[in-house]
């Protein structure tokens, strides 16, 4: 069932019937302020990964929209996500990126919170407050819902939001391509090398749109393909398995999630990869053989960039990473990128991947630099009075999407575009903005959960 929402954004600023979107949604500061409320207080947002907080007292300072939050494992082992702001005068109670602590103490006046968020220390509690302050009412502000899904940690401020797996819907099976071990099992992943963080001068929706499935911008990466940073010494990644596969875009209109995938024909083996290192090549060959055996026909599917609405980007295959596009004002985005390896992989494999990952992604990565240059100048060239009068075009492939798509007996859920035939499509981008507009107009989750 489609959502009922219609207002200023659906069909107006985001006019998907015409395939046009106003530049105002990227550069208008009132719209930016509105989306902090409408989108970022209601959607599920990526917080971090379990491997970052393995022990009681471990914490990782993350973000939800513009706001700093603390992901913390309490003394009892339970995970919590708290607003990083003292209840007394709002000072950050944690100013480190990560660590281990028995308490979070505000440096301003000294209020102190246990790792379960309870207020445990109030200076001069007896003399100044006469023991009358009800500490139980002044704990750290905790998210309304928090869920761990295959090691990834998610939270929302909205108690009415559906559970995270319902929020994912059938996109779950595509998200799993980023979270399962390379051999297709639930053996643990780990974050390698810390989280890269950097600023880009563009609205957060530029990268979110790009990772939703901009299949048109490959020309931007031609130089990095010529340099040959890939793990077999050519291109920017191993390309044979993609060349052997059907290239598809998959989107879920009622959820706003979308991704690219590659599907091998029935009975086809997976091409060799990681040829620059025999040890790494062997590791991936064995892992892939096991994955294909475990997953059966679904093992023919491999992942490609995708986006979980609103601001979590997936890069499941080469390199394997998750990025979050944190809004930092209308004209700036702070990118946080997590890189993943199999926790049980040999050191040589992890180190090979670490070096490949940073050649490809992040502020120094050759591929990500290409993207950032585009987003930077697209944004700045869209801010002017004249520029704002002219919408962007999102007409590519309108009306060509399919449902009930099947390839050699493998059914693909969602709305599918066949890019092997079409070369490129903006279906996934339209899907992202459709959901964004619904969030901007809808008053509550009763309207947003139109599938119920």
């Amino acid at each position: 069932m489609a959502t009922k929402t219609k207002g200023r954004f659906v069909d107006e600023l985001v006019d998907l019937k015409a395939g046009q979107i106003s530049r105002e949604i990227f550069v208008n500061e009132e719209i930016y302020a509105e989306e902090q409320e409408q989108v970022f207080t209601r959607a599920w947002l990526f917080i971090g990964h379990e491997s970052q907080v393995p022990k009681p007292g471990d914490y990782f300072v993350s973000c939800m929209g513009e706001e700093s939050v603390i992901l913390c494992r309490g003394r009892d082992g339970a995970l919590h996500v708290f607003l990083n702001s003292c209840r007394h005068r709002g000072m950050k109670v944690c100013r480190y990126d990560e660590g281990n602590t028995p308490v979070f103490t505000c440096p301003y006046h000294g209020w102190s919170y246990a790792t379960d968020g309870k207020l445990v220390g109030v200076p001069f509690f007896k003399d100044a407050y006469h023991e009358k302050l009800d500490k139980s009412k002044w704990g750290l502000v905790e998210v309304a819902q928090m869920e761990v899904y295959k090691g990834s940690i998610w939270a929302t401020w909205d108690p009415a939001a559906p559970p995270f797996t319902e929020y994912l819907g059938d996109f779950k099976m595509f998200f799993d391509l980023s979270l399962e071990a390379w051999n297709g099992t639930d053996e643990p992943l780990e974050v390698i090398g810390g989280v890269q963080k950097w600023l880009i001068p563009c609205n957060w929706k530029f990268p979110a749109e790009n990772f939703s499935g901009d299949s048109y911008h490959n020309i931007s990466h031609r130089s990095v393909d010529m340099v040959g940073i890939g793990p077999s010494g050519t291109g920017r990644r191993d390309t044979q398995e993609r060349a052997d596969s059907r290239r598809l875009q998959v989107s879920f209109p009622d959820r706003g999630h979308q991704t690219g995938i590659y599907v091998l024909p029935g009975g086809s083996p997976t091409a060799a990869s990681y040829q620059q290192s025999p040890e790494v090549a062997d590791y991936f060959r064995e892992a892939e053989e096991k994955r294909r055996a475990i997953k059966g026909e679904w093992g023919r599917v491999t992942g490609s960039p995708g986006e979980i609405f609103p601001n979590t980007a997936l890069h499941p295959r080469q390199p394997r990473s998750i990025a979050v596009w944190h809004p930092r004002g209308t004209h700036q985005t702070e990118v946080w990128r997590w890189y993943f390896v199999d926790a049980g992989a040999p050191y040589a494999v992890k180190d090979f991947l670490r070096q490949y990952y940073i050649r490809y992604s992040g502020p120094g990565g050759l591929t990500e630099q290409d993207d950032m240059e585009n987003w930077n100048y697209a944004h700045s060239a869209s801010r002017g009075t004249i520029a704002r009068r002219h919408p962007y075009s999102y007409e590519q492939g309108m009306g060509s999407e399919q449902t009930n798509f099947e390839l050699d007996g493998l059914k693909i859920p969602g709305t599918v575009m066949d890019l092997t035939e079409a070369k490129s499509s903006e279906q996934n981008l339209r899907n992202f903005y459709k959901r964004w507009a619904e969030f901007m107009d809808a008053p509550n989750w009763n309207e947003l959960a139109g599938w119920r």
């Binding site: 602590t101 028995p102 308490v103 103490t105 440096p107 000294g110 102190s112 445990v120 220390g121 200076p123 001069f124 007896k126 003399d127």
Partner: protein
Amino acid sequence: MAEVVNVRLLKAGDKLKISHGATVVVVSNPLDGVWIFARYLTSPEEPSLEGTEDMIFAQDIIEVLEISGN
């Protein structure tokens, strides 16, 4: 006036004189420069606190009575 105590240097076993004439022994130090975890040794104004553990605010510490041998 007693010197300001650097609470970051306090270790488990150190004995302290604190406000209201009480004495405590340090149990652990979270090293936040603001609090220490301690157990009451004496508490003339509130004897029921003796033997209990509490968080002690840095500004409530009057002086270090004894440094532990650890």
